[in-house]
Amino acid sequence: MHEMSLAENVRQIIEDAAHRQGFKRVRTVWLEIGQLACVEQESLRFGFDVVTRGSIAEQARLEIVETAGQGRCEKCAQNFPLAALYEACPECGSYDVRVIGGDGMRVKELEVE
């Protein structure tokens, strides 16, 4: 359940932004979560609801945009969609695959008032 601490980090990022930019309420939070980021989205939603209670983001809508996993084969230099870390290169079958996308987690933007 590291999603709970990730949710807490989201809240902290929001509160720091509010402090700097002077908004009072958050309506919507857009998160970008990579397909390979090892995050259970339902747990993250649950955690977000819990940790934003009593904060400026209470009852904010949480929009999660999933970014697709991307791999690069170190043998044949092919880039390809990677749905799971144990997948082989579809071209040459090598498991020497580097993750080049879809493993990040970001707060993209907020709708605030």
Partner: protein
Amino acid sequence: MCTTCGCENGQTLIGGHALRQHRKPDGSLRFRMHGADAQVAEVSTSRIVKLEQDLLAKNNNYADANRRYLSERGIFALNLVSSPGSGKTTLLVQTIAALNGAQPLAVIEGDQQTENDAARIRAAGAPAIQINTGKGCHLDAQMVGQAMQRLGLRDGSLLLIENVGNLVCPAGFDLGEAHKVVILSVTEGEDKPLKYPDMFRAASLMLLNKCDLLPHLEFDADLAIEYAHRINPKLQVIRISATSGAGMAEWLEWVKDGCRNAVAAKPEASFG
């Protein structure tokens, strides 16, 4: 509210003391905003604020600070991760006994509850501090930074950090260590590397532990290693039994090598 598990009362204890500053890191560690800092005056309608901020930025900043602290002192730090019951603590106790005072070392023990593991390490003759994460499922870099301060590490030390027994959550949380070492015991399934790939991808070394039990089991060690290499072709592997001592020499040589390199890389300016 606690950063680890969202509980209302901070439950993280480091050597029995509460984790300081649960929510706000000190000034030097606060991450910077990537976006514009423009102040916007009283606006009643809604607007969009672009942030593009990494969820792990705060932890990564603490980890960077830990890494600097360690490298300035020539300390070689390892983050030991595994499922519960893989034999991490026994491995540490045997490692401490084998190094036999020849190498200064200290241990940070992470568990949700109890001081039992730190007590076992101290009984083996090494200084240890226990972090109790309460409901938290992993150590983070802030906890480890504070634990390091309390330990008062000697220059050139080996620092062994035993993470909470959990093959999922600790993978994403950099503690500032030189390497993650994943321990898989042969009483588990061969396909654990496929089921929990993030940890095997994050690790530099896998210790296949409890190998003395192989004659009594149907565990296919070669298959387990093949699966681990599918996830991480560069993963080094040592077959070991902390109980019988098999493979310990190779593991100890790996550790000593890391310690020598950490001391050699220590900046000249910090001598004296």
